[in-house]
């Protein structure tokens, strides 16, 4: 049993020995031994990481030649403030590109949930989407 443990058992803080030459000598020996071991030997450690899935590249949707006369859907996932921000985008279009029609929609479900009905509507009636996502 070393003195630190003994002192602990006696209810005393081992810190009282912080200046003890004997303890310092013990610590020095331990440090030297540890440093020699750390420097002399190489260790093989296993990789802790899991396996990410393969990535399928998704080609981007064809671009429009112009937004003039087109309908842009502004879609919110319901995160606080998204509706107000999209409303400002709608105002920006009215001021700066009045030929663009904007349509606001709140997506069903949480931020990661699909909303097939909404996206079918956008495909049928819209030409572009600006989506605000928060989580």
């Amino acid at each position: 049993m070393n003195r630190r443990k003994l002192l602990s058992l006696l209810g005393m803080s081992p810190a009282v020995l912080a200046g003890s030459p004997l303890l310092l000598a013990d610590d020095k020996k331990k440090k030297e031994k540890g440093a020699a071991a750390a420097g002399a030997f190489k260790v093989t450690a296993l990789n802790p990481r899991g396996l990410p899935p393969p990535i399928t590249l998704v080609p981007m949707a064809p671009r429009l030649a112009t937004l003039d006369g087109k309908t842009v859907y502004l879609v919110s996932d319901g995160f606080p403030g998204a509706d107000a921000f999209l409303n400002q985008i709608s105002i920006w279009f009215k001021k700066n590109m009045p030929s663009v029609t904007t349509v606001y929609r709140l997506k069903a479900g949480g931020f990661a949930d699909d909303d097939p009905k909404l996206f079918a509507e956008i495909k049928a009636k819209g030409q572009a989407v600006i989506m605000a996502i928060g989580h």
Partner: protein, 421 residues
């Protein structure tokens, strides 16, 4: 369009989803809490990343012809790194730290010998798939992992082999303890059954503090797995909690004090047998102390139920309530007439109420929908939570003081530990 705080997340996640050249424009952050004029000023200003006029850039992104690289198809296999790393012990510690594979505290190096010893604690084969995990379901593609990869993380956390089936049970759920949300969320696991004593877990004095190896290390393994098995816990990329949470270091590991509880243990409530070893998961905002509440000064038995009700009233209703009751409190509630946890949940559901006006003023506290919503006015008084099962109770503590703690957390699921022995 993405706010600037989410730049790294957006860029890397688009790449992980096969759209490395996605056209993204950035706004200043945040959007929430800004006036209409402030938000319009964002739109009228420049993208803080490109320095170009923001809305002009958005319109350009929608109309500029695609380049060949933007139309590429095919499958890419992301690099996972070498299966082993060979270096001195000190250099390996530094390597694991520099590459985000630790909790920024020293780890036990996962040598083959240590991992093999861990693997002997389960009948499952090293290459057997355990599950899939993601920092946020639907937001990040889930990663998969084997028994051996779980064992590597268990070694790193300081686990002894006896803990391994419990750690495998955690891994099997695919629940990350480091959910990527901006809300700095926390996770909890309640452990029931004889395994608590087999592992010499602490469900008495100081149970939720740093006073027991199994309690501490099993929780730490969960955090390390949540970093390494799913690519999570990268601040700004796969973790966005605005302030983070100290509980994320080793989570809330709560072995229930079954022997001193007046009620059946939590896993029995969920339909398991008392002798089964079960781990149950919770998830939510945080935990807080419940002392000094209304009714606690009443003699001879403090009205713990009244205090509990008053304490949860300000909680966000996005998550439910998890009470961790010292046995003194649980038995006091029993003396007050609550003979089952279900009876207590029912009382709290009926008596914990808020006004519609208050709900409207709170973030993440939704109003009732459907028939319950009919006829509600701002002055209407409604239950804090619509269902009694939003209230959950676990008995834990050493009976040195009649204290309880409460967490704004929801129950998720319970799984078998025995399956992984």
């Amino acid at each position: 369009m993405v706010t600037i705080a989410f730049k790294d997340l957006a860029l890397t996640n688009c790449a992980k989803r096969g759209m490395p050249l996605q056209r993204i424009s950035f706004t200043p952050h945040p959007v929430w809490g800004k006036t209409d004029d402030q938000m319009y000023a964002y739109l009228d200003g420049n993208d803080p990343v490109s320095g170009k006029p923001l809305m002009k850039e958005v319109v350009d992104s929608l109309t500029r012809p695609l380049m060949a690289d933007e139309m590429k198809t095919g499958v890419v296999t992301p690099p996972t790194g070498a299966p082993t790393f060979v270096e001195t012990a000190d250099n390996l510690q530094q390597y694991f730290l520099d590459n985000g594979m630790t909790d920024f505290m020293p780890i036990i190096l996962p040598t083959q010998e240590r991992v093999d010893a861990m693997l002997k604690a389960t009948s499952h084969k090293p290459d057997e798939p355990v599950g899939k995990m993601t920092p946020a379901q639907g937001a990040f593609p889930p990663w998969s992992y084997t028994v051996q990869q779980v064992a590597v993380n268990a070694v790193m956390a300081g686990a002894i082999p006896d803990y391994f089936p419990t750690i495998l049970a955690i891994a099997s759920t695919g629940i990350s303890a480091l959910f990527s949300s901006t809300n700095s969320l926390v996770s909890a696991a309640v452990i029931n059954g004889p395994v608590r004593d087999k592992l010499q877990m602490n469900y008495g004095i100081g149970a939720m503090g740093p006073f027991n190896q199994a309690n501490a290390v099993i929780g730490r393994a969960w955090t390390l797995m949540s970093k390494n098995l799913d690519g999570g816990g990268i601040a700004g990329e796969t973790y966005m909690g605005s302030q983070g949470n100290i509980i994320n270091y080793n989570n809330l590991i709560i072995p229930e004090n079954e022997k001193d509880s007046p009620w059946p243990p939590f896993h029995v409530q969920k339909g398991f047998k008392p002798e089964e070893n079960i781990i149950s998961f919770f998830f939510g905002f945080n935990i807080t102390q419940g002392q000094g509440g209304k009714g606690l000064g009443v003699k001879p038995i403090p009205l713990y139920n009244v205090a509990m009700s008053a304490n949860v009233a300000p909680f966000a209703s996005l998550f439910g309530a998890l009470f961790i009751l010292d046995p003194l409190v649980a038995n006091g509630l029993g003396d007050l007439g609550f003979k089952t946890k279900e009876q207590l949940a029912d009382w709290l559901q009926k008596n914990t109420t808020v006004t519609v006006k208050d709900v409207k003023s709170m973030l993440f506290s939704g109003l009732p929908r459907g028939p319950e919503a009919a006829g509600l006015t701002d002055d209407s008084v409604i239950p804090k939570w619509q269902r009694a099962d939003a209230y959950n109770f676990v008995v834990c503590g050493g009976q040195t003081n009649p204290y309880h703690q409460l967490a704004n957390m929801s129950y998720r699921l319970s799984v078998s530990i025995d399956k992984w022995t």
